[in-house]
Symmetry: D2
């Protein structure tokens, strides 16, 4: 931690900072410049969250030196971690495309989906039984029944399922019904009670980035899960808020190389919620894999125009097949498989 | 709802839209322009959330005509609503300043706070017993005990208390311990399960705006609470995410006149979390009241530098007193009282 | 300047930084922490813009300690500067409201405007003869003739004029026709050639903030003008880009207290381009003055619905009069006059 | 154009809109819904920029139906246009990587650069002789001499040159010294006088996107150039402003598929200014090509740590070579060449 004093700060103010640092168990190291004095605090700054230092007189600002995350940090690791989902590796040499509809609708739809997922060469299935909707009057998902429909269809085709958990009180039900990967949605990225609870399980978690969360805040949200004991975390970038209105969200493709440097955990991308239109999905999906993502979470529906939600962003099975061919080519260029 | 077709859309595509509208119980009204056909959908579009229309061929885009909110809408009302908190009106001619520390610390601190709140002429007290923190290693609040400390001190001074609810499982405890106003924080603005549950009580709710929520999304979050039965909602703007790094968040002062036009419910501002520095608070507080806000939620601590959290944004009791004098002057100019 | 090395940086890498600092005439001051080494660079970092330091091995990041602006900096000054416009002080105890239409239209319109400006108690007049428009097919302003129309009407009423300069080749004409204050618009805030040229005059400059300029970049744009010799600079906040679509731009009211702390120069606000709707202007104008702004740049048109541009954001003369009464009240509360 | 009236708008207000539309030469087409009346304006809305309609009583909002751009629009075209630069096609099946340093420094550096550009298999060279810098105290480029150095080295290796024009008064010099492609930088995207002047030449223009320009504004900026007669326009996305501070700018990769749909003109990406760090460039460059970009503008310096500006974002010749191999692989997957 570095404390930058305002120009001309008095010795009394400098001493106050020094003393405060010492009461926190840190050693102060003064560096008097021509215009400004800078104080280095030596010791483990990660243990210290509230310093009150910025409220002391003539303190201009505080700069933290160390990354605030520990368990999720890449530091000291030679390679990335692999999160295993029912034996399927996420984060390794093989890229995973998780496909399925926005909403679970009927057992027949689920069967069609599972068939199409397998046919396209994907190894995991997604679908929402509980839907977080902007409007209280919008379709909120079919609920617990949806878990049953999805799990049964997926089982027949040997697919693990990924589905979103909205309510901490529903966690036991998710585990009971055999949800293989728990998705934490963008609106809940900083629902810390939910993070702590999924942190107490060992079920892999897909942690979507908040609408306008910085990468650092996102890493800290993952740290909540890891600190509670669950290290099976997969980051999922899904587009962020911006001033642009030509599409739904701005896909932050730069988050991929940044996360690969900052954390050892896998990173996937959701091109469907990013763009918000099916015709944008192939371009974004290719960009994601080319940037080094470990996989995709992509919306596919047997008949998009009939989808109960997000009809305009789902790929058809045919479109998914065509995309997989392109992605396989890009994966090969990068020395990976799909 | 208006459906704009792409230039040169075929009759078949237009007929497909018309037919889809009719199955939804809406009447289609065609307007063929020189370059583009526009289809007006006549009927109650609020009942319709998922149209699938955007996925139909040659549909360029959909424009919704009606506001999606009902209970919280200003439409058809001559004046704003007043939310009563233990007999204190929020949203009327009188402006309310709710003051108190970021965190509840000790019974002695709470007593000092309550004394200072009353001395400054404020009528409600704030304080956090449960703190949502970016880091799992940061101080998370003193917990349930904090509710007791705050309520007891407040009671002695005749002050209702405002405190943040993070977890749906804690709601009964909040009601049991006599929390007068439940605060829903910025990270939980779209925690819909939490919104539905506080919607089932009659306790007034301060609904903070999400980090990057649009005003429309914020109104829809309030609609969740109202649709569940609780109409005692107070909007609280607290700064939003932006590219600027000279302060913590960008206070959206324009949200005040916009909300006053869109909803009948009261609007307050939190200048402390917006700026993030105590020295910015008076300017932002004055701006808020001048813009027409119905009140403030402001951080005050008996000795800011000793605060257990957010030390650099709390006012001292003396600073709060000085601010109240200025605010009273501005209120008078606008024909209000404080 | 502080150079933060990556954890475990080698002595060779540290020596490379030290050596590079010395060749730049700075002294290196090492602070070896438990995890990371931090190097303080002692000397005048303002003289150094390109260090190449970040490209050296094992350098994590660079933190600059000193503010990069000199002439516009508040540092070492007890009070703000006053910019005089034909004897009218901007930045002092008296607040200035500069009013007038988006576009100069006809001599008759200009006469009406000048009359209304004086009647409302304002002391300066604005109007655009050259308009920067998003579309090449939109009205681009009446041009040089507009300067004549505006100047003549203003002269009859003893008003200085403020008008926007778009093209460096037009500067001499502006000076010749007696423009009293040159406005640099939001799109030209970093048109450095234009800044350097107006910097060579002594005509006061209103420097609008760029659509998404940080306050620091804005101060540096002003520094371009000041470094060229012209210190008569007035900052004008006019709303910035955001994700919100309920209005045109997000007024950054916090920029007022921040600028008041960072620079000695005056700060005014344009509530018209911020909100983009006439009905929002009074609330934003009041907020600006309450926050401590030194004045306003506000759009007013004799008959807004007939305006040749930006009809929906202009106040009528009656609305301006009413606003001035409120602003005068707020000014009084803050110990200022209007 | 569609005019949406407020709920319960009076017949008088509706008539006022109808009448105004007719005076503009448009036909009004009423659609009375249950709650709100909507008025369709039939005719060529592109000719109309200032309607004043939003200022009329009880008008809620205006929705434009037609795209405001004509020359740059994709509408009515089966395929994209190719912009030829000295016989090299931009926008066709072949992808172009334009490489070179941030700043032109010396003749020797330029020779090294040109050699490395050719060695990597690139066909065009970039370099800045005039640099737009945030600080007036930063290196502003070597100036006109730089054009000579760059042109001579490029000529020896048969490379066209791309360089940034900052000042309209310098345009003739650029043409005289044989600049092959004029770059309009991000800060000048809406410097309309500059756009009009380059529009009067036939020299190809690389038009960078403004820091926070919407795609629609960017297309309109290009329309300024095209409307003046120059249709040789290449769009260049270079990252936009966001709340994220882990990198310099947020690369908007979604702009690629959106532009490909909206305009017939080529689209390239600048991964260097987007990320701001050399280690991010390969991932972003691959993503850009995978998303369908027609080329890249990438910074390369013979010895990055010695670069006079932007040292930390330049690739070395070796890194550029390695990147070209990967890009060639991705191009092949997409049926293109490099």
């Amino acid at each position: 931690m570095i404390i930058i004093m305002t120009p001309g700060a008095s010795d009394v103010s400098i001493a106050a900072v020094t003393q405060r640092l010492e009461t926190m168990g840190l050693k102060a190291h003064l560096s008097r410049g021509i215009h400004q004095t800078v104080i280095g605090a030596i010791g483990d700054e990660r243990r210290i969250n509230e310093t009150g230092l910025e409220a002391l007189p003539e303190v201009d600002r505080i700069v933290r030196v160390m990354r605030p995350y520990k368990f999720v940090s890449r530091e000291g690791r030679d390679h990335g971690s692999v999160v295993e989902v029912c034996g399927i590796p996420v984060g390794g040499q093989q890229i995973q495309v998780i496909a399925g509809p926005c909403s679970v609708e009927t057992p027949a739809q689920m069967e069609e989906v599972a068939t199409a997922v397998v046919a396209a060469g994907c190894r995991m299935m997604r679908g929402g039984a509980f839907k977080p909707r902007t409007s209280p009057y919008a379709f909120q998902g079919v609920g617990v029944e949806g878990l049953v429909m999805m799990k049964e269809a997926a089982k027949r085709h040997g697919l693990p399922i990924v589905t979103e958990l909205l309510d901490v009180r529903m966690l036991d039900t998710f585990l009971e019904y055999g949800v293989d990967v728990i998705q934490i949605g963008t609106r809940n990225m900083q629902n810390f009670e939910l993070l702590k609870e999924v942190g107490r399980t060992h079920t892999p978690v897909v942690l979507k980035r908040g609408f306008s969360a910085t990468i650092s805040e996102w890493l800290m949200a993952a740290e909540y899960i890891a600190a509670a004991g669950n290290h099976n975390i997969i980051f999922c970038e899904r587009g962020v808020r911006s001033f642009e209105d030509a599409y739904r969200n701005m896909l932050d493709v730069t988050a991929v190389p940044v996360l690969k440097r900052e954390t050892h955990l896998p990173v996937i991308i959701d091109p469907s919620h990013a763009g918000g239109k099916a015709w944008m999905v192939p371009a974004l999906a290719r960009a994601a894999i080319a940037a080094g993502a470990d996989g995709l979470l992509v919306e596919m529906h047997p008949r998009p125009v009939e989808a109960w939600s997000d009809a305009d962003q789902a790929l058809s099975p045919t479109e998914l097949n065509a995309l997989m061919v392109e992605l396989r080519g890009i994966a090969t260029v990068l020395g990976r498989t799909l």
